[in-house]
């Protein structure tokens, strides 16, 4: 469904982790028309000096009640402003924007790899969709410490949830990438969101996966036909790893070219239009953009 500019009313707001908030808004258009991986561009209050909206992943969408949730960490004046909203308050919301995750119909086992809370926010809705479609989901989360681990009661019961913390206070000590090898062979497809260096590490792992594990490529049997164009939904559906990128954004509709990331073909790709979800092989991870 197409993007729309509309106001949304806050229906629930709570701090689920230190400085991390989960807010529900009544936004029927977005709740009905969005898919996992898409985002909304939100205008907060008239804070003097702030001229940009803020992009937020759509954390969950409930069609029946017309609500969506946003999950964010307080990082500056704009995000802090949101924490002072009360039920009934309204924000101005542009969306849904960007392109969603593409799950292959044959994929039974989905591996979701989240780096921190931003990672969870980028993948949370995909977990819902996958469970609804009867797929098995394992969510790997990397966090600083036990205090920052996303509460398991906010996830669907069907999701297997595995945690790594940097200080070892919960789960395995290490990064989320350290958890991946245990699930690589199990997974039919993987989806990741989080800091760029983590995504680059996962992309390197994914690039060598076939060679290391000797597994078949998705969609191989269709082989003789023309290859799907790079970046098309069909091509993404066949990719083992899809990543949701975050980038500083201006307009979020593809006009300003502020949020680009360097593509493997040598042309910049707009995070807001061609993304925020990309197949890992679409991105030039070495370009340092």
């Amino acid at each position: 469904m197409s993007m729309r500019l509309a106001s949304a009313e806050l229906v629930d707001s709570r701090e689920i982790l230190p400085r991390e908030w989960l807010q529900a808004f009544h936004a029927p258009h977005v709740a009905l028309g969005s898919r996992a991986g898409q985002f909304v561009h939100v205008r907060g209050g008239d804070l003097s000096g702030l001229v940009l909206r803020r992009p937020f992943s759509i954390n969950t969408a409930d069609r029946a009640s017309g609500t969506i949730t946003l999950h964010f960490r307080v990082q500056g004046r704009a995000t802090d402003w949101f924490t002072h909203l009360r039920p009934g308050d309204r924000i101005d919301l542009l969306g849904p924007l960007g392109r969603p995750f593409e799950v292959d119909a044959r994929s039974r086992h989905l591996l979701l790899v989240a780096g921190g809370s931003a990672g969870i926010a980028g993948l949370r809705m995909l977990a819902d969709e996958a469970v609804r479609d009867g797929r098995q989901v394992t969510l790997l989360l990397g966090a600083e410490s036990a205090r920052h681990v996303y509460p398991s009661n906010l996830l669907p019961d069907e999701v297997e949830y595995v945690v790594a913390t940097e200080d070892g206070s919960l789960g395995r000590r290490g990064t989320v990438a350290d958890l991946v090898p245990d699930y690589e062979a199990w997974a039919d497809q993987a989806f990741a969101a989080g800091p760029a260096p983590m995504l680059a590490t996962l992309a390197r792992l994914a690039a060598t996966r076939r060679h290391r594990l000797g597994v078949a490529k998705l969609g191989r049997k269709r082989g003789h036909g023309r290859a799907d164009p790079i970046g098309s939904p069909a091509a993404r559906r066949k990719a083992f790893l899809q990543v949701a990128l975050r980038q500083r954004m201006g307009c979020a509709v593809g006009a300003c070219l502020g949020c680009v990331v360097m593509g493997a073909a040598g042309t910049p790709l707009r995070t807001c239009r061609e993304g925020p979800v990309f197949a890992a092989e679409e991105i030039d991870w070495e370009a340092g953009w």
Partner: protein, 376 residues
């Protein structure tokens, strides 16, 4: 998540401060206070209003930029903030704008600068996109067929590294259906060669304008840079070289520092500052330029509400481009068209021509550059 019971409170400040939906709706179906026109006002427009459901038709906001380029209203969207006009079409009534200025376009495709490319600053936006664009041929192929079907004039913003580049791009645009004019970007601060170097020297600015003038019959706007000590000789040189109108101003060169403070934030180090932060500077430049040239001046810099438009008109601009504010409020430009018409109606004016230049001095004031005047 299960939705909680919706509680509507009336006493909260946010609900009062952001009546966005109401504002958007009012842009489509104007519901304005009536009877505000003074008794001695324009009786004709009152009559017209009673019989004409489209209230904006009662006031003629059209602006003649010369060489046959007549805009239906003086609200344009600024280059670089509106892509090629198609990106926002799902949420903006593009055809109600005075004109669309496209993203800066060069002869060959450009991949632009490294990221990060944008940074929010106090009251402003620092950008260094670096003129990323698909090149003039791709732009003509992809977008001109769409523009051809639009009522709104599309002005292609043209950038280059050499006079030859500018001339070649303009030559390719000449005669293309759907292209209503050229805005010469001689003032982009974000590219290594070309760009701003033309805009800081009267001779170079005049030379590139004259060369482009010879290459096309299209209406020619030239966008000036504020990154100069005295803009007036440059404005004069460009006008003398055959520009039909001037656009003032492009962004100001600025810097942001990365959060870790170990380097500048932007991938290209320097960026161009836009937004409300630069509005007083843009006003000053418009004011100075309007006093020394006969051709129309189009103002751009930090417009966020009607009073900014009125300020620019008073300072001598005949039209105004909206830029950075679009990112927060995409429907602002179209709403400003309605608000400007309402303002004219409220003052009993048939159009906004009489609002132009009301703050200009009777005789030219000295430049804001103090060095010359204060010399002993």
């Amino acid at each position: 998540m299960k939705a909680k019971k919706r509680v509507v409170t009336t006493g909260n400040r946010v609900a009062k401060r952001t009546p966005t939906v109401r504002r958007i709706r009012s842009a489509i179906v104007p519901a304005r206070p009536r009877g505000a026109t003074p008794a001695g006002g324009d009786g004709r427009s009152i009559v017209a209003r009673d019989h004409e459901p489209d209230e904006s038709a009662a006031v003629d906001l059209s602006v003649d930029l010369g060489r046959g380029l007549v805009l239906e209203n003086p609200i344009l969207v600024a280059a670089g903030t509106f892509g090629y006009g198609v990106e926002y079409d799902e949420v903006v009534e593009v055809e109600r704008l005075g004109a669309v200025c496209t993203k800066g376009t060069t002869l060959k495709p450009r991949i632009g600068n490294r990221t990060p490319r944008v940074a929010e600053t106090p009251g402003g936006l620092l950008n260094s996109i670096g003129l990323q664009n698909p090149g003039i041929d791709a732009v003509i192929d992809r977008y001109a067929p769409i523009w051809r079907g639009w009522r709104v004039p599309v002005i292609v913003n043209v950038a280059g590294e050499s006079v030859g580049d500018y001339v070649e791009v303009v030559r390719r645009l000449d005669g293309v259906a759907g292209v209503a004019g050229i805005e010469l970007n001689i003032s982009c601060p974000n590219v290594g060669r070309g760009g701003v170097q033309f805009a800081v020297d009267p001779d170079a600015a005049g030379a590139v304008t004259a060369a482009v003038r010879r290459a096309t019959e299209l209406p020619l706007l030239v966008k000036l840079s504020p990154n100069v000590a005295d803009v007036r000789p440059i404005a004069r040189a460009v006008a003398d070289a055959g520009a039909d109108a001037l656009t003032a101003i492009n962004t100001l060169s600025g810097l942001a520092v990365a959060p870790d403070r170990d380097r500048p934030l932007l991938g290209n180090v320097y960026g161009g500052l836009s937004g409300p932060a630069i509005r007083p500077i843009a006003l000053r430049v418009v004011f100075e330029v309007a006093q020394v040239v006969e051709i129309p001046v189009i103002a751009v810099g930090g417009v966020t509400e009607l009073s900014d438009v009125l300020d620019y008109l008073a300072a001598g601009a005949v039209a105004v481009e909206v830029g950075t504010a679009i990112f927060a409020d995409p429907t602002l430009p179209v709403r400003l068209v309605d608000e400007l018409a309402d303002e004219c109606r409220r003052r009993g004016l048939g159009g906004c021509a009489s609002l132009v230049g009301t703050a200009l001095p009777k005789r030219p004031l000295p430049s804001s550059v103090k060095g010359v005047e204060y010399r002993p």
